[in-house]
């Protein structure tokens, strides 16, 4: 039996009765509906393992539910992705990943049932991104997939803007080489 504040019924506010709304005014339901798939896909890109990606997504939203951070309006997704990437990094560095994956994970695609064909270029691009080293993969996913600017990524990752730019540039080079088959 779930406590009342974790009720999944409808779209009602999931906060305890009488508790003040944080400045962002988001409910768990809203955040989950809007951003959980993005978090899951970024984690999957990072780890290449669906089960682990789901675990990361779970950890991110459990952390949100338990800590109720005061999210800056408009930066909700950035917070979720930052927590997700930190968790992915921890997992990636853990002995589990080193022992089980041994290098780059097999990148399995999850096309929709009604999808007929996919271009070879699209698959090559996704696989090239997936094979990037973790630091490069993070900036590529945040910049090209999630659309964050260099300064926003620098803030999210606690690194200098120059570092982000440099990683992006080097990542582009690696992807280009990869796709040329070098």
């Amino acid at each position: 039996m779930l406590p009342s504040f974790l009720s999944v019924a409808g779209n009602a506010d999931t906060r305890p009765a009488g508790s003040p709304l944080p400045s962002d005014g988001w409910t768990f339901e809203e955040l989950y509906e809007k951003y959980a798939t993005d978090v899951l896909r970024v984690a999957y890109y990072y780890l290449g393992d669906r089960q682990r990606a789901e675990d990361v997504t779970q950890d991110v939203f459990v952390k949100y539910l338990l800590t109720r951070p005061e999210l800056i309006p408009g930066r909700e997704k950035a917070w979720l992705l930052k927590v997700a990437l930190n968790r992915c990094r921890d997992l990636w560095r853990s002995s589990w990943m080193k022992k089980v994956i041994l290098g780059h994970p097999a990148f399995e695609l999850f096309p929709a049932d009604d999808e007929i064909g996919r271009s070879a270029d699209s698959i090559a691009l996704a696989e090239a991104v997936n094979r990037l080293p973790a630091d490069f993969k993070e900036v590529v996913l945040l910049h090209y997939y999630q659309g964050y600017g260099v300064s926003e990524i620098a803030e999210m990752m606690d690194v200098a803007e120059g570092t982000v730019s440099s990683r992006l540039s080097r990542a582009r080079g690696r992807i280009a080489k990869e796709m040329k088959g070098e």
Partner: protein
């Protein structure tokens, strides 16, 4: 590789991973996990600042009290003047004697 391809990453990802979605079962897992996780009592920044301020205030108060001379000086001396007399009698060498009923032997009074 032209950069247009990399700029197409959201589109490509949506296409290739369109079957990977955060569904209701994952949401249920999250809610169950949150319900089962013991909530750690966290102190807010305001609480920490208030506690630190209070501690500092107490320390300052203690230091201040220890520096007040009248509180740490010797206790006031009581002057003894015999009835009818005017000379102050010192209590320094005065012998303390327990009251004892007169006319009875010491044993019967319970004295040793």
């Amino acid at each position: 590789m032209n950069m247009d391809q990399l700029n197409r990453l959201p589109e490509v990802t949506d296409e290739l991973l369109s079957g990977l979605k955060a569904d209701e079962s994952l949401k249920h897992r999250i809610l169950v996990s949150a319900a089962e996780t013991p909530v750690k009592k966290r102190f807010s920044a305001k609480t920490v600042i208030a506690l630190c301020s209070l501690s500092l205030l107490l320390v300052l108060l203690c230091v201040l009290v220890s520096k007040i001379p009248s509180w740490t000086g010797s206790s006031p001396e009581i002057q003894n003047i015999p009835a009818g007399g005017t000379k102050v009698v010192s209590t320094e060498n005065m012998q303390e004697v327990a009251d004892q009923a007169s006319g009875l032997p010491a044993e019967e009074n319970g004295a040793d």
